[in-house]
Structure formats: C-alpha cells, structure tokens
C-alpha cells in the first residue's frame, strides 16, 4: 500500500503531467470559439464564445476542404488499420507458436522498417506513385500507412500471443478441434483485448500521419485531415485562419477520444486469468 506521503506525491506528479499534456488542447479549444477579431487579443479565454469557426468548416467556405478530408481520413485509417491487424494477427501467431527459419529476420525487419525515417521515403515514393498511378489515391496512402502500422502491430500481438498458454491449444486439439478450430474458438477470443489495443494504436498512427498525407496527395480525392489543415485560409487573404484550424483540430480529436472510451473495457488485461493454475 502507498503511504499518504506517496499518494500526495503521485497526485502532484499526475496533475503536473495532465496540465502539461492537456493545456495545449484546452488552448486550442478556446481558440476555436474565438471570433476572428479576438484571435490576436492575447487572452486565453475568448471575449465572447462564438461557433463561427465550426460553421465555417462544416457549412461555410472551408467545407469543401474539410469534409472530404474528414471522409478520407476516416476511410483510409480504418482500412489501413483493418488490413494491418488481420495480417499482423496471422503473422504474430506464427511467430509466437511456430519454429520456422527466418523468424528472427521477420521481427528485426519489422523493427527496422518502423525505425526508418518517413521523410526520406516520401520523395522517392512521390515519384514512384506518380508513375504507377497511385498518386493522390486512397490506396496510395494505405500502402505507406501499412508500413507504419504493421511492424508495431506484429510486435504487440506477438507479445500478446506468447502470453497465452500453449496447452490451451493442445487441449482443444485433444478435444477434437482442427488447428484452425483451435485458433478460432480458443485463441482468437483470448487475444481480442490484444487485438483491440493493437487496432487502436494502429488507427492512431494512420490518423495522425502528416508527412505522407501532404506529400502523396494533391486534391481532396485522398487528402487526409492533417494535411488539409495546412490549406485552410481565412475569409480574406488578410484574415488569420487559426480559428478554423483550431475547430478542425478539435473535431479530429473527437474520434480518437471516442475510440479509447469505447474500447476501454476491451483492453482490460487479465482475461487469460483462470486458464491455468491460479
């Protein structure tokens, strides 16, 4: 048990970290409610709360820029996540369960790929994509996103699979299951929390990407939100678009928060408890 002193210490540290992390978010939230005239006033709170910026991105001038981008972001991220999780599940299962030559190689390659700086690939990819016709398409973004999401998915899932007692599978086989049935009826239900966690991480990575998003798209056909934000302009040339950008930033944060809240329960660890001796 923690002593009172330790509790106080932890509380102070937690509060500091929370303030540090959430202060910018709060600042953006406040900015999103400011009127254009208010932007340079230098105050933290808007002098008057207005929804003008939100109107602008949903029904106003910026609608053409923001709504397709939101659709692109959601679609591309979901597809990239889905493919990454399915592939990574199969791959991680093999890595955790089977002894095959090149197992180490798969893992180190995955690690190396995830360490490779994105910015150095984006220019050659830009040329290649233009030649093969993938430039400014959904697929043209999904493929590079897989290179970001797959490695981390493989690593987290492999660790998760390794925790599951192998005897469960053997028991299922003795009970009359084929390898596939043992996988589907015993292993998959047990790995669901791990799969959800992995899916959320993969989704965030795809959702948050900026470099590929701005480098490999040119129109609203495939441009994701983080890239689209850079193209926001004010109502006139002389107007600061910070209000609209802030509003858009708040909007794109919402799915992330919702995802975490929705799957919080699934990420409970300890589902395997009780499988083996306690």
């Amino acid at each position: 048990m923690l002593s009172t002193k330790q509790k106080i210490g932890w509380t102070v540290v937690s509060v500091l970290v929370l303030v540090y992390a959430l202060f910018p978010v709060l600042s953006i939230l406040m900015t999103s409610f400011k009127s254009p005239a208010d932007l340079n006033a230098g105050t933290f709170l808007p002098s008057k709360f207005v929804t003008e910026n939100y109107e602008q991105i949903f029904v106003g001038d910026a609608k053409e820029l923001f709504l397709p981008a939101l659709r692109n972001s959601i679609g591309i991220s979901l597809i990239a996540t889905f493919i990454a999780v399915v592939l990574a599940t199969l791959c991680a299962y093999a890595i955790a369960r089977l002894d095959f030559p090149g197992k180490k190689l798969v893992l180190t390659t995955a690690l190396m790929v995830s360490m490779f700086p994105v910015i150095s690939i984006v220019t050659p990819l830009f040329n290649l994509w233009r030649q093969v016709g993938l430039y400014d398409t959904w697929l043209g973004l999904i493929i590079p996103y897989l290179s970001l999401t797959l490695p981390i998915s493989i690593w987290t899932l492999a660790a998760f699979f390794q925790q599951i007692p192998w005897d469960l599978e053997r028991a299922a086989q003795v009970d009359g299951a084929t390898t596939w049935q043992a996988f589907r009826k015993v292993i998959v239900p047990l790995t669901l929390p791990g799969v959800f966690t992995t899916a959320i991480i993969a989704f965030f990575i795809a959702w948050n990407d900026f470099v590929y998003g701005i480098g490999l798209t040119s129109t609203s056909a495939a441009r994701p939100v983080p890239a689209a934000l850079a193209f926001f302009t004010g109502a006139s040339q002389f107007e600061d678009p910070a209000g609209a950008i802030s509003a858009a930033a708040i909007i794109v944060t919402i799915p992330v928060v919702l995802l975490v809240l929705a799957f919080q329960r699934q990420i409970v660890s300890g589902l395997t408890q009780g499988a083996v001796k306690g």
Binding site: D175, A177, T178, K185, G274
Partner: protein, 459 residues
C-alpha cells in the same frame, strides 16, 4: 474402451537426444497404468506421444490393434487432463465441459449435449458452478472441470499429465481418491503420469518406472516395492527411501559400517558371482527397536548396537537416523544414483523405523534389530538386484490383477445399487454439495474441508 500398445517407441529430438528410448508397454483394456520417474525421464513426452501432441520418431503405437502413429490428436479419441488444467478462460464451466461435444459437429443434438454435460457435472459435484468462469473457481474445482471435459466424451482412454501437482497436499489426497474411484467405476483405460510415488502406488494397477527415457521395470506397486529389479527402482519407490549400505562378504556375515549382519540362507544361494563389495538394500521398516521385537521374530534377524544422531516422532511412527562412515569404493556409485533420483548426494546415514513408543533418542546408543530375511543385495557396478525373485514378483502382479478385476466388478454392482437408490428419491450428496460451496469461497477453505467427505462424492 481400448487397449493401448506401445512397441519400441522412440522419441529423438533434433539434437539427437532420445527423450524416450525404445519403450514397449501393453496397457490392457480398463487398466490404470502409471508412468513414474524423476524429472526429465521422458514420462510426459511418452504421454504426449500417445495422445498425438509429439511426433513418434520410430516404433508403433496401437490403439485397439490399429496403428495410430500418423493420426491427429483429434482422430485418436483419447481425452487428456493437463497439468495446468488448460481450461478455456472465456467459456463458462458448462461450455468448457460441452466444448468437445460441440466440436463433434452434428453428432449430438442440443438436448444430448445438455444431458451429457449435466451427467458429468453431477458426477463431479460441479452442478452449482456451471455458469461460472474458470477464473472464479478454486484449484480443486478447476481440476474437476478439467476432469469433466475429459469424461463427458466417450473417449477410448484417459490420459493424465500430473493432474494433481498444482493442488495443496490435502486436496491432492482427496482428488486422488476421487480419480481412483472414478476410474474403477467407469472401468476406462487410463494412463497417468506423475512424479509423486504416493500417487503411483495408490492409483496404479501397474506402475512403469522410467529413467532417462528407458523403462526400468513395469509391475504392480507391490512387486516394485518388494522385488525391485535394480538400485534405481529400489531407491525411487518407497518413502523414506531404501537405505543402501556397503557390505563386504566375510564368510557367513556381511561386514557393514553399522555392524556385522548374518547372511540369510535365501541370500547366500544367490550370491554366486557377486563382487567383493555389495550394496545392501534395507528398508526403514526392516529395522525395529530390539526391545519391541517378539521372541518368535527375533531369531530371524540380527541385533546390533548403533548410535542415533536424532529421531523424528510422527505420532503413529518414529524414525531414527544413524550416521556411518561411507566406504569410498561405493561413494561414487551412490552419488550417481542420488543424482538420478533428483537428489544431490546420498548421505551416509541409515533411516530406521522404530515403534512410536520407543524411548530411543538422539545421541543414545541402543540395540536395534534387523529383519535380515527381507534384505536386498545389489551389485554396485551394474545396479542389478541379486536377490530378486522374479517368480514371486510375477505372482504379486498376478494377484494385483485379480484383485483389480474383482474390484471393478464390485464397484459396478455397488454403482448399480446406488443408481436405483437415487431414483427412489434419496439424496446422498447433500453433504458434499455443502462442502463444495464452502470450497468456492477460496482455495484455502477448500483445503481445510474434511478430506474424508471429498471421497464420498464419487463413491
């Protein structure tokens, strides 16, 4: 119902290490066979080869006369209880037990599955836990769920892989009784792996002792105890284990560090070709405080004086410890044996069993009596038991076999009688159900529950 035959089974790993080396065992239909040995002797590997989780390098495995080497585990129709139970944590107890039935698609209707699961759960006193998840069960209950999953299916044989090693001592004794009675009642062929010799001795119709992948001896527990083939089996079976004392043959006596022992007639006949120094195998109960020996018995043994280092009084019996100077020529052999038996080294001491009321205490020098008729003499080089009477041993196993048959017969009759009794509306299991509910509160409470009550649940 099945007979399992292993013919020259070999399991070699990739590095060429033979985990199981040329083992041939015949398991008769309905027999309870125990595989026992120190850790790393290949007993679990052998079990996994039978169930199909390990490939067989060479040799034949026959179930009911059919070769099944290449069959998948699911096609062998065997059921297995794992050491860690391997319950499916996401399924309720009911679904855990129903799992094998649901996999056999189309074979059972929903009603049949329900009937079979409830039958199994009634047998194992799991009725009030059917909707719970394995995580919320105590160790003993989990163990029973694993058993339920095994018996719900009409499997040809049961395989047990150290099923009781994760339970505390009290619960282990209780479950041991339950398994023994369940097996007798169902009369199903069983293969049981353990390193616990109490389980081996009490459960098995026959016990196979393994050492480094090789079969040492397969016989009834009584034959193993009274007529072991070699030093290893003699040292492994029995607790406290057999004392091994070096002895020099000098005319009609064995000269030993604890005193001279007269060579009995039976032993002398078999000493032809024995080396100069032999190892005497003396079980603790071959000794007695000389004051407590009947006149009639005293003549059959030797009395000598010994200094006790300490004694242990256990209520119903008493053990005395005597230290002696080890003979260097056999020290090496004894240490080797100790390592094979999972110990570090063989202490130069003799453990003797004394009457519980004996007043012998540590530090005192007292007269003890040895029943020399029952001694074993081993060749220290080969480990062979020179005094083994193979015929007498075979007779013991034959007797055990007869007893088993009549026991199964009686168990079935009694079971038949009880079924009709239950139909007449008498509930005989209320008591055990209460005990079980208490057990559900926690593992510890289950452990303190009345051990005798547990055995009544399957009787």
């Amino acid at each position: 119902m099945a007979a399992i035959t292993m013919e020259h089974l070999v399991k070699k790993y990739d590095d060429g290490f033979p985990a199981v080396n040329d083992i041939s065992i015949d398991i008769a239909d309905g027999e309870f066979l125990i595989l026992v040995g120190p850790s790393g002797c290949g007993k679990s590997t052998l079990l996994r080869m039978v169930v199909g989780l390990e490939d067989i390098t060479s040799g034949d495995l026959l179930i009911n006369g059919e070769r099944v080497n290449e069959r998948q585990p699911r096609d062998r129709n065997l059921s297995m209880v794992f050491q860690n139970y391997a319950l499916y944590p996401h399924l309720s107890v009911y679904e855990n037990i129903a799992f094998p039935l649901r996999l056999a698609k189309g074979q059972f209707s929903e009603d049949e599955i329900d009937r079979k699961v409830r039958e199994a759960s009634a047998t194992l006193d799991l009725d009030e836990h059917l909707e719970r998840k394995p995580a919320n069960l105590s160790g003993g209950q989990r163990q029973r769920v694993a058993m339920g999953r095994a018996i719900v299916r009409d499997a040809d044989a049961f395989l047990f892989d150290e099923p009781l090693s994760n339970l505390d001592a009290k619960l282990r004794g209780q479950m041991r009784t339950e398994i023994a009675q369940l097996q007798r009642r169902m009369g199903i062929t069983s293969l049981y792996v353990t390193h616990d010799q109490t389980e081996a001795m009490t459960l098995g119709d026959r016990v196979a002792v393994l050492k480094r992948g090789q079969l040492q001896q397969i016989a009834s527990p009584r034959e193993l105890y009274e007529q072991p083939v070699n030093l290893f089996v003699a040292g492994f079976i029995g607790a406290p284990s057999m004392n091994f004392i070096p002895a020099r043959v000098d005319g009609a006596v064995f000269q030993t560090p604890i005193g001279d022992i007269e060579i009995p007639e039976r032993v002398r006949e078999r000493m032809g070709g024995a080396p100069e120094i032999v190892l005497l195998g003396l079980r603790p109960e071959h000794f007695e405080d000389a004051k407590f020996v009947d006149e009639a018995k005293a003549g059959h043994g030797t009395v000598f004086e010994a200094e006790f280092t300490h004694t242990e009084w256990l209520g119903n019996q008493q053990y005395g410890y005597i230290h002696y100077q080890q003979d260097e020529t056999v020290q090496h052999k004894l240490n080797e044996l100790a390592q094979e038996l999972d110990a570090d080294e063989m202490p130069a001491q003799v453990i003797v069993s004394l009457d519980a009321s004996s007043r012998i205490r540590g530090g005192s020098t007292s007269k003890i009596w040895l029943d020399s008729r029952r001694m074993h003499v081993f060749n220290p080089e080969t480990g062979e038991n020179l005094t083994r009477d193979a015929e007498a041993g075979a007779e013991l196993t034959r007797e055990a076999n007869e007893e088993r048959k009549s026991e199964i017969e009686r168990a079935r009759q009694r079971d038949g009688a009880r079924t009709s009794e239950r139909r007449s509306g008498q509930t005989t299991r209320t008591g055990t159900a209460d005990r079980d509910r208490a057990g559900a509160v926690g593992h510890d409470r289950a452990g303190t529950a009345d051990g005798a009550g547990g055995s009544s649940s399957v009787r």
